[in-house]
Amino acid sequence: MSKYILGIESSCDDTAVALVSQDSQVKSSVVISQDKIHENFGGIYPEFASRAHVHNIIPSINQVLEESCVTIDEIEAIGVTRGPGLMGSLLVGLNTATALGMGWQKQVIGINHLRGHLRSAELEGEEINYPAIILLVSGGHTFLAFMRSKLDIELIGETRDDSAGETFDKVGRMLGLGFPAGPIVDKLARKGKVNISFPRPLIHEGLEFSFSGLKSSVARYLEKQIDAEIVIEDVAASFVQAVMDVLLSKCTKAIQQYKPSSLVIVGGVAASSQLREGTEKICKEYGIKLCLPPIKWATDNAAMIGLATWDYIENKVFPIPKPELNILLSDF
């Protein structure tokens, strides 16, 4: 009989549930987006996020079990995100998972959301050649990690302030593109000209990132254009180019320093066509494999939590399902 992990993810604004086998096959996956709820606020409104999780989580679990026809006996354990994330949102997933574990007599394991993201590139039979450099670029995180194996992870550079995804969304909001604006900014950038000189923060310094200065620079530029006509496409193109220059230069530096066999890009910003093209070039130049998970696994989902849960079981690490906001990448 095949065994599955029931993965539950509710760390931010998406309610996600999935069933994943040990060989990384996703039997069923549901992600309920809350974009409609948050668009009027120009960002995620934590109270509404948590409330929507309460509404969505049981129907999502029900849908995953019905679609997959997996029985409770076939569930090996329940893996649920314990952090980092929004406290109110995490509590909904953690308490629901705890109750399911009690009712079904299954072990419930609290999973590090970041480890889930790092494993997302190996879902559905994909393979990473280790050692690998991983760039996680999402709305909540931006960092570079060196993975000697799927269990041996070292953080080698992270953002000192905002994440790249958050910067995309905030610049999009400044340009009146709603929420989440990241994908629209990326799309508009392809039509514009790179003719505005925005800074490339920390581009020559180590493997750390900083995006708040770039965000302020875009804001100052827009404030100054009182009478002039703003070409949104050009602002987007110049901004995206600045972000890409920073991300790609850090990836190149990490490859030179750590000599990996593959480069893996995960997180919502991995959907950016500019980032995909840029990293492809770098990997060709250095002769290493580029691993880009499908977009559906690049953003928050529960399949990655399910796959990470198998690592915990293999390593015999069973953190209790309790919220942990300041969890480190190296932590299980």
């Binding site: 509404f48 309460v54 049981i58 129907p59 109110g88 509590l91 997933g93 109750a99 007599q105």
Partner: protein
């Protein structure tokens, strides 16, 4: 065996009853940041009674008003238990539970007041049968009480009800010190609440644009 859960008002309660008899209840003061585990309190109760989780036949859960994260802790846990055990669950208001206890004592209309955000208050009215909610500024609550009651029992946040009492000089006001959920009342009335049972009452409402309005 009916399990009742209340986490809304700075205390985590589990009470267990069967055939109108209270078997066990436990109450813990809530510690912030998710450190109070409702599952451990339930396990303690079950161990004490030498019973299993599968012996639970129905659930009652307090859906607030109360602290946002703490209400969701209890509701998420109870819904997960209800789903996994495939047993019925009913959500009841904390005002119902507090109202019942006050009504048993005073036999008069009850108003429970809770402070909310942006200068608004939750006023829950209980008259032994029905519960009515008003969510507005204290001036409008005062106006409503004046026009609807000649006598009222006030309970809830102390400073607010004392302030309200001064504005209600023309009607008979009784100040009650019963303003928290009583586990015994919760257990005693659990079977009555369950008469109204639906499955997963707080849940399968899809998030649509229509209920966003109601939230904001």
């Amino acid at each position: 065996m009916i399990v009742s859960i209340s986490t809304s008002l700075s205390q985590f309660i589990v009470s267990i009853s069967k055939d109108n008899e209270i078997l066990c209840y436990k109450k813990r003061e809530r510690i912030p940041n998710g450190e109070t585990h409702i599952d451990l309190i339930l396990k303690e109760c079950l161990e004490e009674l030498n019973m299993k989780v599968s012996d639970i036949s129905a659930l009652v859960v307090d859906v607030g008003p109360g602290g946002t994260s703490s209400v969701r802790t209890g509701v998420s846990f109870a819904n997960g238990l209800s789903y996994s055990l495939d047993c019925p669950i009913i959500g009841i208001s904390s005002v119902d539970i507090i109202g019942i206890e006050n009504y048993l004592k005073y036999k008069k209309s009850i108003c429970c007041l809770f402070k909310s955000v942006k200068g608004n208050y939750f006023a829950g009215f209980y008259d032994g049968m029905n519960t009515k909610f008003i969510y507005t500024k204290v001036e409008e609550i005062t106006q409503y009480i004046r026009s609807s009651f000649s006598e009222i029992v006030l309970c809830g946040n102390k400073d607010i009800i004392q302030n309200l009492e001064l504005k209600l000089a023309d009607i008979n006001v009784i100040i009650s010190d019963i303003y928290k959920v009583n586990p015994e009342i919760l257990a005693t009335y659990a079977h009555k609440f369950l008469d109204k049972t639906r499955k997963y009452p707080n849940l399968p409402v899809p998030v649509t644009e229509t209920n966003i309005q109601e939230w904001s």
